[in-house]
Structures are given as C-alpha cells and as structure tokens.
Symmetry: C2
Subunit: 227 residues, 2 copies
C-alpha cells in the first residue's frame, strides 16, 4: 500500500519527487531543482572552484550552491576532487555521465533561444558563450576553415577550434593560437550574434582569421508569433 499523501508522510520521503517511472521524470529529479542544470553547465568545460561557480551564476547564494553541489555529487553527476600540486585546491568536476549532459544542455539552449521573449542583453558566463559557439556553429559555412582561436576572459583562457564539422572547445592555455580575443562574454556575444563590429574586440594575432571566424555562428530563427 502506498503512503498517504499527507505532509507528514511526504516528509519521511527523501524529498518532493514525481512518482513516475518515466525517464524524463527521473531527469527532473536529478537536475530539476533550481540552479542545478546551470551548475552542470558551468562544469561542462572542465573543473571549477566554488568561488568561480558562485561568481558565474549571478544571484545564486552560497548556501544554495553548496546544497546543489552536494546533491549532484550524491547523484553521481559530479565529483569533488583536488587539483594536483602545486595548485592543490579543491574543485568540482563532472563525471563521465555528467558530461553526457552537454549535448542536452546545448539542445535545450538552442530550442529556447527561438523564443521571442529571449533577451540576449543580460549577463552570460564565459562557459555559456563558449558552449553557445558549439551550439550555433555552422559547419557548412566553416568548410575546412579551422583556426585555433583563443579567448581570454579576465585570466581564464579558452580555445575553440573547428574541425570535422564540429567545433572543439576547451579551457586551456592560449599557446599556439592563431589569434586571441581578450574580451567579456557580453562583448563577444554582441559580435557573434548581434550587430557589434569586430573592432569592439581587442584582438592579437591574425585579425583576418578572426574576422572570418566570427561569421561561423548563427542563431536559429525566432518562433513565428502565431506559434
């Protein structure tokens, strides 16, 4: 016999769940809480520290972030590790299964930006904008154009490199890049997806490669108002 659905009976269950064997319902129990999927997003390009996560999730409070990290770890989506010396700091990183969420995260984003209500004017994190490049990459436009593109947000570097119809992105040092853009996620977004000219960005290295590079990304069309 099932438990009665009273507040008291529910309290002894782990937490509010959906009594539903459907995979989707389980997905929502794994990452359906507020902030959870955004935390996962921030871990998709490599391990992060607590303070970095907090800084890149505007509005999350330390206690909520800490709680999400505990839950995601319990569920096997992330793990807590210590970076090798000399850094030796504690970081959070996605497990292999957690990393499998990356295509889902990109697909959700691609679907959602078709909304007419989407406001691209707000803050974005470096991870967001770098993942958006994977999402919005136009392989046809790129052909076999494949420069090694560096992006520097403050003191964190990312490298993007088109190859074989996809674009590989990783957090990394910027050695060997054909060009390096030092910018903010918002400025970069305005060039990639808005009207801002390339000249608003501080670019070192081969500017002409950069000029072509930023044309490789296109937003999907908005939903027609009729729906």
């Amino acid at each position: 016999m099932r438990l009665e659905n009273t507040p008291k009976a529910r309290r002894i269950e782990a937490k509010r769940g959906y009594d539903d064997a459907c995979g989707l319902a389980h997905a929502l129990e794994l990452v359906g809480e507020r902030w959870a999927l955004l935390v996962m997003r921030e871990l998709m390009l490599g391990p992060r520290r607590f303070s970095g996560l907090k800084a890149d999730l505007p509005g999350i409070s330390a206690n909520v972030l800490a709680q999400r990290l505990v839950e995601l770890e319990e569920r096997g989506l992330i793990r807590r590790t210590r970076l090798p010396p000399p850094a030796s700091v504690q970081v959070y990183e996605a497990t292999d299964w957690g990393l499998d969420a990356a295509p889902l995260i990109r697909a959700l984003g691609k679907w959602a930006v078709r909304s007419t209500r989407h406001d691209p004017g707000q803050q974005v994190s470096p991870v967001s904008i770098m993942m958006s490049m994977q999402t919005m990459f136009d392989a046809l436009a790129a052909g076999d154009f494949g420069p090694r593109a560096g992006f520097l947000f403050g003191d964190v570097g990312y490298v993007a490199e088109p190859r074989e119809g996809e674009i590989h992105v990783e957090r990394s040092g910027l050695e060997g890049c054909d060009f390096v853009v030092a910018t903010t996620p918002e400025e970069l977004g305005a060039v990639l997806y808005g009207d801002a000219p390339l000249e608003t960005l501080a670019i070192s290295g081969d500017t002409e490669l950069a000029r072509r590079f930023v044309t490789l990304f296109t937003l999907p069309p908005k939903v027609e108002p009729a729906g």
Copy 2:
C-alpha cells in the same frame, strides 16, 4: 543602473528568473518550473483535456496544473483550443515550437534512465511509455520489419509503426493494425524493458508479429558506479 536585489525590488519583476542570457537559462525560465516539462510531455502525442492531464500526472494538484497551463500558453508553448463538433470540448495542445521539445524530452529521458537510482517500478502514463518506444527503438534490430502495432490503454488507442529507422507513434483509432495490445503502461513496460513474458499481455491479431515487435526496444546501459 540595475535594480537593487532586495525582496521588494524583486517583487516588481515578473518572477524569479535567472539573470542570464544563456539559452539554457531561458529554457529553464520557459519550462523549468516543477511539472512544466511533464505537462509538455503529455501533449507531445496530441491534444489533451484538463482531466486527462491531471489523471496522468500523479500527484499534481488542480491549481498547479492550471497555473502551468496558463504559463505555458503565455510563453507560446501550448494553446487552448476547442475540438470540432460533436466533441466540442476544450483541449490543450502543443504549438509547433512546443512540439519541437519532443526530441529534448526523449533525450533527457534516455540520459536519465542510465542512473543507477532509476526505479522503473513506479507508475507511467500511456504517453510516457509510447514515447519511450521512440526513445529506445533499435533501428538496427528492426531492419525493415514494420508492423502497424496498436496499443489500447483503457479507451485510448495509440499506433506505433517502425519505418525508415524511426518509429512513428500517434494517438489514433486502431483500425488496420496488425495486432492490438490491450494493457496498462506498467505491464507493457515490464515486457518491453523487464523480464515479463509476452503472455502477460492481452493481444489480438498476429501474436508472432507482436512477439518480434517487443524485442525492438532496449534500455541504455547503466552508469558504472565509479561515475
């Protein structure tokens, strides 16, 4: 200048959002509320009435369902329509854009069932189990085997028909099916994904076609405990 982040300042904003231009964050503003994506799931195979939705979402309360439907309509994901006479009842149906969420819903489900914590023993709705057939369909095993398979849950019929590497599913009358299975979602799930023998199902029509049909669906492997 931005609004201060005080309770009072927040109250004049529409609701709790993520101040984040990332597409994922917007997706969560569209369908991130509790139950929202499950409501969308129920609409992926055609229009539904309020009471049907409430019945197939175990544990949702009428007020929360009503609120979600209003929100999803405002956001352009569903619309409220009236079925043509003689039915003339009001139903909810997904917009074209809303229907585009179907692959996302399936992908989320497929990813989540790899969790070792997933318990397939709970209730499922007819829509869940029929969508799971699309998710778990093994095109290789099917080859060009493509019977017209009927499923009857109470008085609601669905037809599934493999063709060209996919499996088409729709809510529909069961005329012209090669076989019809009258069952519950749970019983069907036990045969498709568990050990239950075909004989637990009430089948009319060509049982041998049904016997092969139920072998075409396989769950993805569980995540190894190490993560």
